[in-house]
Symmetry: C2
Subunit: 313 residues, 2 copies
């Protein structure tokens, strides 16, 4: 049985189950329902930041740190889709080869596939499978700072934002909108010039922002390539986890928010899937798109017609 | 009449209409339908890149360049939502004050509002309003490189990816997934060290990627703060526009893809809106989320129940 194999941590079965949720296969739903009571044990860590901040290396070293404590680690690297190839990307393939020999580590790269999105939903489902599979720490690494990334890290128990010295140069860094989602900030490549300035600017930004949970985000300096600062980072992550756990009201609120978000993501996905199955065919959609492109038909009318078919109004 | 005022370029009416589409007001749909035949004239330019690349300054200078040629310019700055404040962000407020005095420029900052998303849809609708309002060039500026940003720039006629020297340092830059969406690359802050290396790395990356439309992306060096390279950038943007226009088959395909994407975004938005109106109430959703958080109920069952109510199965 698939479910027993997943609960016993069978890597191959876990990998297949994740592929199935990624592909949006119907049979995944029953599996996810069955696994659901076995989830909620892992600590889910979201790690995000701008490209070039050294997130991958940081994640790898953090995973290595947890492995030394005999904890099983799942890593989900979320890549925005390449619109041309639609595929997963070079970097993770290289990483997978390096770490795949360790039975206590599971690495998976996930990319959204085309227009239908569902990346946030698929990521959350993959986390659930790894959680049920006995992974103690599940790290979701996202590239970039877009809405989808924000949505994904919202589903994490603890969120780490990775910065590098010099990023605080201009107003752009504030605009990124990632400041306010970080429970912990890692200033990576902290052997570079400007680290103190970045730290001070970050402290200033954090001092003017108010969090609903009363937590003051910790700032940790790391040099991931030299394995420096990783223990402090792990301690900061645990620190936030303990802070939240001690505050029952907050913890319950955070979990309910995550659950609400998950329900909405699932609903959004499922609705679009149903509408495209029942409200239109691929060829109808293509000719409607052509007509819209030629300004012969407006897209609002197209959508109303599809909705009418789906909802039977 | 709202529609005549928009067609005559009345800024206040345009601003109100954009607020209405952002808020997802029902009356917007009829307006957008009425405006639709008047759209398709503007050149839509998507500008994206990592935080700190100087996109805002570049966009402002490019807009100034177009203004000198007596072209009206609309700028939509898309910010990922701040999960805590949900608001628009400092930088654009400052910019708006600087440029708002020019009647031929319209600047608007858009942020997604909470979980319901719809940013991509709202952006496209705002572009349509500006297009109908007689803006010749519409620049969509996005922060970050997430899926939502990719979706948004997909709706542009020409996409400019902004890089800075030194970003090609590691594999992360490739991972960003923005390489393949750029029709034109601007290496901004090109007076910095490492510009030639970044240029060479970019050339190499571009040489190994193949585009369906046969275009070889142009690389333009700019120093936006000193107004350098902006004419070249504008020429590269026109160059791609002309290349595409000369290739009727490609141009028609690109427009159909954009239209298809737009239909799906509209559909996704509308479906979720209907489901949350008809399939559940806010308090039901909250208690379901609470039950899921406590592992008493799985989210898949919750979604099935909502779907049943909406679709009447």
């Amino acid at each position: 049985m698939t479910i027993e194999k997943i609960l016993s941590g069978d890597k191959l079965t876990i990998a297949r189950a994740i592929s199935n949720v990624e592909d949006g296969r119907a049979e995944s739903v029953q599996l996810l329902k069955d696994l659901f009571p076995h989830t909620g044990k892992a600590l889910v860590i979201g790690i995000t930041g701008a490209p070039g901040a050294g997130k991958s290396t940081l994640v790898d070293r953090l995973a290595t740190h947890y492995r030394k404590q005999n904890e099983k680690v799942g890593i989900i690297a979320v890549d925005p889709s390449s619109p041309f190839t639609g595929g997963a990307i070079l970097g993770d393939r290289i990483r997978m080869q390096n770490m795949a020999t360790d039975a206590g580590i599971f690495i998976r790269s996930m990319a959204s596939r085309g227009n239908l999105g569902g990346l946030a939903r698929a990521t959350v489902d993959a986390v659930a499978i790894l959680d049920a599979g006995g992974y103690h720490k599940i790290i979701i690494e996202t590239v970039g700072v877009g809405q989808d990334e924000v949505d994904i890290v919202k589903a994490a128990d603890v969120t780490v934002v990775v910065l590098v010295p010099g990023m605080g140069d201009d107003i752009q860094a504030i605009k990124a909108g990632i400041m306010e989602i970080g429970d912990v900030f890692a200033i990576n490549k902290a052997d570079r010039d400007g680290v103190l300035r970045t730290e001070r600017e970050l402290e200033m930004l954090l001092s003017i922002s108010e969090r609903a949970d009363g937590w003051t985000p910790l700032i940790i300096k790391t040099v991931a390539t030299e394995d420096k600062g990783l223990e402090n980072l792990a301690a900061a992550i645990s620190g936030y986890q303990e802070y939240i756990a001690a505050n029952t009201e907050q913890a319950s609120q955070r979990r309910a928010n995550i659950a609400r978000h998950r329900i909405i993501e699932l609903l959004r996905d499922k609705l679009l899937q149903l509408a495209l199955q029942k409200g239109t065919s691929e060829s109808e959609l293509q000719s409607a798109a052509q007509a819209v492109a030629e300004r012969k038909l407006d897209p609002y009318t197209v959508v109303e017609e599809i909705l009418q078919k789906v909802l039977g109004w």
